[in-house]
């Protein structure tokens, strides 16, 4: 019987004015969970905690749904210095009655500092647990970690921009961005795979169109550590030339970058993964924002490294690193960068981009950026 039931019983006159429990006619007499709980309460008042604990254990055995008895058991255990047992009993009390302020407060007070852990019952393994255990035993010996906090890249997704009906930018003599970037992506993929230390995946392997959303989905599909999207720039001004690298960040690095991002984001709505609730701290939201900030920071680091290698390897002018809040890059659950490897609208650069040897140089620069940018 819990406290509320006890009060109801009082209302029905089952308890005499003296506090003696009156057994209604027709009910067999025996010591109930309630009786033990009441006895335990009296023993706690007398600070006879060991005896209280024993009778309260009997109380919860007879009446496992009594939050009152569980709460008392918590108090008896706490009095005995058995903090882990006390927390366990208080937790059960709160589970049965979430409005039990005292038990809830006691859990918080006790767990401010370390407590011993109680042994948990061992259950037989399910078939999936057995398979998981076998897999773990087979895999653990092969796994190595340097233990550091430096960002690790073991899988990379290489994205060839555009494709299919979307040619991307087209050069003065008809060279299409989609064809150049596919060739570049395949060269990069082949080199990374040959090196063997990083797994590489392509978003597309042929001339077909993949929507922007699918590209980051593919990166998420493979649990990639880095997403590299390869593009070729274009400008109405045919003199514009050089290579540059973009990454996603909270603030745009320039008005031009902000304008580009605003334009791209205009048709899309942002996700709201966490709805704000006043008076509530969402720890997962804190972690989500922290994770995103880390990825953006890391994207900036990678962007810098890639751009450095372009400067060293390519005969193109470096236009530097830019950042803005790109929706498409935001959706990737990993650092992500966008490379603009020259201007297809520029006669000289278009001519260079046609050359297989030059594409090979770009692919080498990308791979070097990747190798040097990783931990």
């Amino acid at each position: 019987m819990d406290r509320r039931s006890f009060l109801r019983a009082l209302g029905k006159g089952f308890v005499g004015a003296s506090g003696i429990f009156l057994c209604p006619s027709g009910v067999a007499w025996g010591k109930s969970g309630f009786d033990y709980a009441l006895e335990g309460q009296n023993l706690i008042s007398a600070k006879r905690f060991a005896e209280a604990r024993d009778v309260l254990k009997e109380a919860v055995r007879l009446d496992p749904k009594s939050d009152w008895a569980h709460g008392l058991l918590g108090r008896a255990c706490y009095g005995l210095g058995q903090r882990a047992e006390a927390v366990s009993a208080f937790r059960e009390a709160v589970r049965l009655n979430p409005n039990d302020t005292y038990s809830r407060m006691m859990i918080e007070i006790i767990t401010q500092k370390p407590i011993d852990r109680l042994d948990k019952p061992v259950k037989p393994l399910t078939p999936l647990e057995k398979a998981a255990k076998a897999e773990e035993e087979a895999m653990l010996g092969q796994l190595r970690s340097d233990g550091g906090l430096a960002y690790q890249v073991k899988r990379v997704v290489i994205d060839a921009g555009h494709g299919g009906f979307d040619p991307g930018a087209v050069g003065p003599t008809g060279l299409k961005e989609k064809d150049v970037v596919l060739d570049l992506a395949q060269r990069v993929n082949q080199k990374i795979s040959a090196a063997g230390t990083i797994k590489s995946f392509l978003t597309r392997t042929g001339d077909y169109y993949i929507p922007l959303s699918d590209r980051t989905v593919i990166a998420n599909q493979y649990q990639a550590d880095l997403f590299v999207s390869i593009h070729i720039n274009a400008n109405e001004n045919r003199n514009a030339h050089g290579c540059e690298t973009y990454y996603c960040s909270e603030k745009a690095s320039s008005n031009e970058a902000a304008r580009v991002a605003d334009f791209e984001n205009a048709v899309l709505k942002y996700d709201e993964p966490f709805k704000k609730t006043p008076g509530y701290i969402n720890v997962e939201e804190i972690l989500f924002n922290f994770e995103q900030r880390l990825y953006w920071e890391e994207s900036g680091n990678f962007a810098g490294t890639f751009q450095d290698h372009f400067e060293q390897v390519l005969p193109f002018k470096s236009r530097g690193v830019h950042s803005a809040n790109f929706f498409v890059l935001r959706r990737a659950k990993m650092p992500s960068i966008l490379l603009e490897t020259g201007f297809i609208s520029n006669h000289d650069e278009e001519a260079k981009l046609k050359e297989a040897a030059f594409r090979e140089e770009i692919a080498v620069a990308v791979v070097k950026g990747l190798i040097h940018g990783r931990a």
Binding site: R104, E108, Q112, K113, G147, D214, E291
Partner: protein, 260 residues
């Protein structure tokens, strides 16, 4: 009024969501008993809930100054450090906790999460397993552990932990989506699609599930086209548009191939 009564009343107000009243009670309690760690921790949490993060930080720091073994205050100092974007401070606090209390599930959880964020999933897995073994009742511990296993291609373990996540919280859409990818990467597209549809039953606007389904249907459409089955491909692109009406690829290919 006795400090114990103030603390009890403060806790009661706090649980009922009456934050201002709770703050007043705990402030009165710490005036009477400046070394009351529980009252100060409660003040810290209450200030954080009211987005007064500097004051929250100050209260937790005072608790740690009173007793450096107060792992609750250390934990919140770590969490608030992450909120400020300070990885090193957060990491240091969580590490200090596990030195004090080698079975602190929360600290292991945050350490595991941090390693996962750095994509050092071997370390992430190590710490998240400790978190799981210390307290197996937190769905997000199982979910993040599943992510670490998934990244390491330990798909049986990933599947097990995703399922444990869902056993504790059936509406955990990220876990459902994760299971979908395991099936998809094993070549079982139908099972994957079933999972992502489950997500949409929980949240019809889940963009991950929408985009995952769109990609799966688009892939199937292209496979059908490669086999020369144009009508089948068209039916897949229609499915894409059904979940993602603005999907540029499906819309364009439908326009091109749907005509008789």
């Amino acid at each position: 009024m006795d400090v114990h009564d103030l603390v009890f009343q403060g806790a009661d107000y706090h649980y009922k969501g009456q934050l201002d009243e709770a703050v007043a009670k705990f402030q009165a309690a710490v005036k009477l008993d400046p070394k009351n760690e529980y009252a100060r921790n409660q003040l810290g949490i209450l200030y954080a809930k009211k987005e007064r993060f500097n004051e929250a930080f100050g209260e937790f720091q005072k608790v740690v100054n009173i007793d450096g073994r107060n792992t609750y205050a250390l934990l919140w100092l770590g969490i608030l450090s992450l909120k400020q974007g300070d990885l090193d401070q957060g990491f240091e606090k969580f590490h200090r906790i596990v030195e004090i209390d080698p079975s602190n599930a929360d600290a292991y959880y945050f350490l595991g999460a941090i390693y996962n964020f750095r994509h050092n999933t071997v370390k992430g897995m190590e710490y998240l397993k400790k978190a799981r073994d210390a307290d197996s009742d937190e769905p997000d511990t199982h979910y993040r552990l599943a992510q670490a296993f998934h990244n390491l291609d330990m798909t049986q373990n990933a599947l097990l932990e995703y399922e444990r996540t869902l056993a504790l919280k059936s509406s955990h859409t990220k876990a459902i989506n994760g299971i979908g990818w395991i099936y998809y990467n094993r070549g079982d597209q139908d099972a994957a699609i079933t999972e992502w549809k489950k997500t949409l039953k929980v949240n019809s606007k889940d963009r991950d599930a929408i985009f995952n389904l769109a990609k799966a249907y688009n892939d199937s459409a292209w496979e059908a086209m490669e086999r020369g089955e144009r009508r089948k491909a068209v039916s897949y692109w229609k499915k894409t548009v059904g979940v993602d009406p603005k999907n540029k690829a499906a819309l364009s290919y439908l326009k091109k191939y749907e005509a008789p």
